[in-house]
Symmetry: D2
Subunit: 163 residues, 4 copies
């Protein structure tokens, strides 16, 4: 239950110094909807959890599979844990950039890291981390390496790229 | 697409006159949650549609069945149409009383009427009406009279009571 | 990599017949999110009401104002009534095209019509209609013609174009 | 016929052994709504974050204040961080008991711990933890000890009781 897991790993460099090559982020972009605000006048915190899901689904397409296909092939991937640290309030119609990365994968479970920023990354709205496992339709734990090797390869390739 | 369907049928009588016996309403009571407000400082209108669903599910229990059982027995009941007229804004933590009534039923479809009020009905927050059909798990239209006579009887009894 | 809504002009013509000039629709495009599905395996009906709001906000930008600016200038525009007829179920990750049109406007209130289709309009997912008024921050009814003539002009121009 | 959340005292004792006196939990009880399920056939994980908020608001009433009053007195209390670990899936119409406790408080911020169980606590659905600060309406950090001593006392008393 400790949440020290998050480091924002700010790679922004305003000074135009020579940089080591930067891994390209997968970024999911969307605007905050009016129906996502609350009477505090900002986006309700529960929506970040929904945005993280949208970003994961975007990531799966970006790396060459899709959560829709996975479910059709009999894999469901529930959330095991979810962490979010809120840093700056997001207002109605603000555009957010969700940088998403697979930071752990072992064929049975995976971890995802999120950074929510504005376009030029000068504002950090939130950081987050979630853990997910894989289940069969009968809700039994499966190892993709055995049950769905082609999906395993896609996840492993993406994870390896990042590490 | 015409929405003239709604009459609030206010039966309130502050003067304690002699009244013809009044049908007893089925009432679903709940409070407005903070996460249901928007930056207008009131409950977002989309939540009334969710509240109507909660009230329908409450009604099904109140009349002797339950939507959970219906689904387990292979009946799903999607929404065909939905109307809501918003009359008074609902604020955070306000308690709403949703008066709900089956106003039409014919074994293939049913109509429900909603009145959202405060406790003593001095405030009318909203009125609504929705139409629903019955489908099998294979998404085919079914007539409860044939497919599920015991559920048909429950709906018919409630509808007859009201008409 | 973005999830942007776009404005598009309807150019579809299956028969290549000579057509009378057709009014150009304003279209809001978006995908159904996983968190919008319910255990019926389809998008929950309450989300259409949220989508309609997103489409209205898209329309306001498309015609030259924005709901954000309107609120900043002291105009809020609550929903007076909402109607939706559900015709075809929408599944996870389906792309929907929400055709939106101002069908009535008189400086005090306006009506909007919605058609939710797939890309080539071969599927009609839903149709809807909503009514809205204008309030000051103090929740008093206002006539845009007097209080905000520049916004009045924008709405009137769009409405006149359609009628 | 109501759907009320209740406060209850934990009295469960399977073994009827002599127990050391146990702190009484504040418990928020509610049922999972149909509109909270997703196509996995379970409650969508984002709803736990909303339930935690409902439980916090319940707790504030239980200890002698209310979030509504706090906002009216100029205190808003945004979420700084949120953690949830999902242990057992919750299905439609399942009743959940959210045990909630203030585990840290220092006039500037507080931490809350959540345990989501069934009625006899034989099932653990989820555990969670969140951190919150206090802001003025102008979104400046405030210390309740100075700005709102009567609210400070209530929070401090509850925190001290638990520690």
């Amino acid at each position: 239950m400790t949440n020290k897991s998050i480091e924002a790993t700010q790679t922004k460099n305003h000074q135009n110094m020579i940089l080591t090559p930067k891994k390209s982020d997968i970024i999911y972009i969307r605007r905050a909807h009016y129906h996502e605000t609350d009477q505090m006048g900002i986006v309700h915190h529960s929506n970040f959890i929904k945005w993280f899901e949208e970003a994961r689904i975007h990531l799966m397409k970006a790396i060459g599979t899709s959560y829709k296909i996975m479910e059709e092939e009999g894999v469901i991937s529930p959330v095991v844990s979810m962490f979010c640290e809120y840093k700056t309030m997001v207002g109605f119609d603000d555009e957010v950039f969700i940088h998403i990365e697979i930071i752990d994968y072992n064929s049975i479970a995976f971890k995802v890291k999120y950074r929510v920023t504005n376009d030029d990354e000068s504002i950090s709205y939130a950081v987050g981390e979630s853990k997910h496992c894989f289940l069969s339709k009968e809700m039994r734990i499966i190892a993709l390496k055995k049950s769905h090797p082609h999906i395993n390869e896609i996840f492993m390739a993406e994870f390896t790229k990042n590490s």
